[in-house]
């Protein structure tokens, strides 16, 4: 039986939905994108083009919620549907878009470069617990104008898993789409078996920037899935109450689903976000706060009730080094998200709010994910009767270890961690060098990278990706791309 976590009653979900719908009428949504305003106006919304505010009637939103698919798949590069957005499927991907990496040797945060991202992408490929790649951080060795597409270029050279990504500009989205189409074998193939999903972020409260709105419209028109990242900051840019922050998230997501469906009916879109409480002492937005976890999974509950695939940013920490706080915050929130049945949980590897990525944290988080997945697999009755026959056969003998019954079930009943988790005796631990979690994670990173093998990527495809990336790079003053580590 699978355990389920719920914070909201049906009545409260109804009320949140109704308040969200009412907010889309008054005060409405400010949309800084002309195309979206036209779409809304044509559909019957009351649009003030000067103030760029759209007042959206309930029926338009309700229709959009109906036409948006309740489920879809992301495909790996072999064409297999490996990530299921829908129902209570739970999957994990690294947090996306960090600006720093925690150095593997010094534990200092520094600006990441090409080699770092390649290493990270390889690690994600090697970790079975991590379901999808993400464009995890922005490389500092290329012009910032191509920071988004360069991440995707690197990832596509080394990955087989699908990828969670996003664009920082309107024009770079098109290059990123071209790269994905090149790998998929054309735009049609990409639409049929999407390998990527684009994060699109409304601005709190109730606003859409030109850029992210355009990205969402372009995705919809190419049948490429997009993922709403609504991020109310409770107490700063949103009501301080948990339920109030969820109302804001609901309104923002409903506006996103509406614009998306008006652009292309039936386009896949995810009810997602990265809401957080606002820390009243430090003025920060902690992702490791229990209040943040409660807002995030409550938001997903509303999305589920409306029949949409869901996403949250959890499984992260605000710690600056990989320490006890880092572990407890990441583990607590990943388990909450899994228990809530959120389809995609972004956050693995991420720390210091959402600003830093760490290879070592990623391999630790993989163990957290393994445990979370075991947790929601629940308690199963494997035999009928459960134990009567076996225990009568064994009587008072304690050697269950030597029974085929043990062999048959132990891998399913237990989650078996890697050596990142120490379960040896004190003496064994001493003998292995008294290593801390951080040191064991360092070892595992090295071991996994040693066994990584490059995926089969054709030379002409490699060159095509390079050419697609080089063009905008040259526009922004970079004549040659940094060499790939194997070059």
């Amino acid at each position: 039986m699978r355990p389920h976590l719920k914070f909201l009653s049906d009545d409260i979900i109804n009320q949140i939905t109704n308040e969200g719908l009412a907010l889309l009428m008054d005060p409405g949504v400010r949309v800084e994108n002309a195309e979206a305003l036209d779409l809304l106006a044509n559909a019957g919304a009351d649009v003030d083009f000067e103030s760029q505010v759209a007042h959206i009637p309930e029926d338009i939103v309700r229709t959009a919620l109906e036409t948006a698919p309740s489920e879809f798949y992301l495909y790996d590069l072999d064409g297999e549907p490996v990530v299921h957005y829908g129902a209570d499927s739970v999957q994990f991907t690294p947090g996306s878009g960090a600006l720093k990496i925690l150095d593997s040797e010094t534990q200092e945060q520094r600006a990441p470069v090409t080699d770092d991202l390649v290493k990270f992408v390889k690690l994600v490929e090697m970790l079975p617990q991590v379901d999808a790649q993400s464009t995890a951080f922005v490389c500092s060795d290329v012009p910032k104008e191509i920071g988004d597409l360069y991440r995707l270029y690197l990832a596509l050279n080394y990955m087989r898993k699908p990828i969670v990504t996003g664009a920082f500009r309107k024009d770079t989205w098109w290059t990123m789409k071209d790269m994905l189409a090149a790998v998929a074998g054309g735009e049609e193939a990409l639409a049929e078996r999407p390998t990527a999903i684009f994060d699109v972020c409304p601005s709190p409260p109730l606003m859409w920037s030109d850029l992210t709105c355009q990205n969402m419209i372009d995705c919809a028109r190419h049948s490429i899935p997009s993922e709403l990242i609504s991020m109310p900051m409770a107490g700063a840019t949103a009501p301080v109450t948990i339920a109030g922050a969820v109302v804001q998230h609901t309104a923002e997501c409903m506006s996103g689903v509406t614009i998306c469906q008006l652009a292309a009916e039936g386009a896949p879109i995810v009810w997602g976000g990265s809401p957080a409480i606002f820390d009243m002492r430090e003025g920060t937005t902690p992702m490791g706060a229990v209040g943040t976890w409660m807002i995030d999974v409550s938001c997903a509950e509303v999305g589920k009730a409306l029949g949409l695939p869901t996403h949250v940013y959890l499984g992260m920490s605000d710690a600056k080094v990989v320490d006890a706080q880092c572990g407890l915050e990441s583990a607590g929130s990943a388990q909450i998200a899994a228990l809530a049945g959120v389809n995609m949980v972004s956050g693995a590897g991420m720390m210091d709010f959402e600003s830093c990525q760490s290879c070592e944290k990623l391999v630790i988080d993989a163990e957290i994910i393994g445990m979370a997945n075991r947790l929601i697999a629940g308690v199963e009755v494997r035999d009928e009767p459960i134990a009567l026959e076996l225990m009568r056969k064994m009587g008072h003998r304690g050697d269950y270890l030597g029974q085929l019954h043990t062999l048959k079930w132990f891998r399913e009943e237990q989650y078996i961690p890697s050596e990142v988790i120490d379960r040896g005796s004190l003496e064994a631990w001493k003998k292995k060098g008294r290593k801390t979690t951080w040191e064991r994670a360092q070892d595992r990173v090295v071991a996994l990278l040693d066994t990584y093998e490059s995926p089969p990527i054709a030379d002409d495809l490699r060159s095509e990706l390079r050419a697609l990336t080089l063009k905008p790079a040259q526009t922004f003053g970079m004549d040659e791309l940094p060499p790939l580590p194997e070059d």
């Binding site: 030597g402 085929l404 062999l407 132990f410 040896g424 003496e427 064994a428």
Partner: protein, 215 residues
């Protein structure tokens, strides 16, 4: 056929098939005229070696080790009389007596070591739990044992390992047997301080230590 059946025995052992399958295959091999020594050395021993390797690389876990060791033991029970009838002997690396010390009723760790020693070819006598020092001494004398294993799970019972070493000393047979100690609270330093010959932290290193002490 005969060559294949030895490979079959190895495979069955490694794949941890139904409990009787290794013994049944060994019986079949005998009926096909295989020598018991060949069955042991070319069928069972290579199988246990593979299982041990897989355990050390992390592919196998304790259940596979114990199931394979039990299967080997069962097959050996069948082959021993055949060896006797032919007046043959398998080379035994040593005679091993093991037990949990006085006051300690913990069984699992001690039994695992006994099982693995058995599977590694040792002749093993498991005295069980809560074993008095004089019982250890008697058994070592009676069997002229090469090795003695003392297990203790608690810090409170660990001291009883020292009592056994003193009893061996008093009986004047301390020099004739190598003593290995183990258990959760036991450390290398403790082993040294009570004058034991070696300490092992887990089953695999216990077997390695045993072989090392007798080499």
């Amino acid at each position: 056929m005969p060559k294949d059946i030895l490979t079959e025995i190895t495979r069955s052992l490694v794949e941890c098939e139904a409990p009787d399958s290794v013994a049944e295959l060994s019986q079949k091999a005998l009926e096909h005229g295989e020598e018991p020594l060949a069955i042991i050395n070319q069928g069972l021993v290579p199988g246990m070696e593979i299982v041990g390797e897989k355990f050390q690389t992390g592919e196998y876990f304790l259940p596979q080790m114990v199931i394979a060791a039990n299967a080997m033991q069962q097959a050996m029970g069948l082959l021993q009389p055949e060896l006797l009838a032919r007046q043959q002997n398998v080379e035994v690396p040593g005679v091993f007596v093991i037990g949990s010390v006085k006051g300690d009723i913990h069984e699992i760790g001690k039994s695992l070591v006994a099982t693995m020693m058995l599977a590694s070819g040792f002749r093993v006598y498991d005295l069980g739990v809560d074993v008095a020092p004089e019982t250890f001494v008697e058994k070592v004398q009676e069997l002229d044992a090469d090795l003695l294993g003392l297990s203790a799970l608690l810090t409170t019972t660990m001291a009883a390992q020292e009592d056994v070493l003193e009893a061996l000393q008093e009986a004047g047979i301390r020099d004739r047997v190598k003593v290995m100690v183990g258990g959760a609270p036991v450390t290398e330093e403790w082993a040294e301080s009570i004058g034991a010959d070696g300490y092992a932290e887990d089953v695999v290193s216990a077997v390695e230590l045993a072989k090392h002490l007798l080499s």
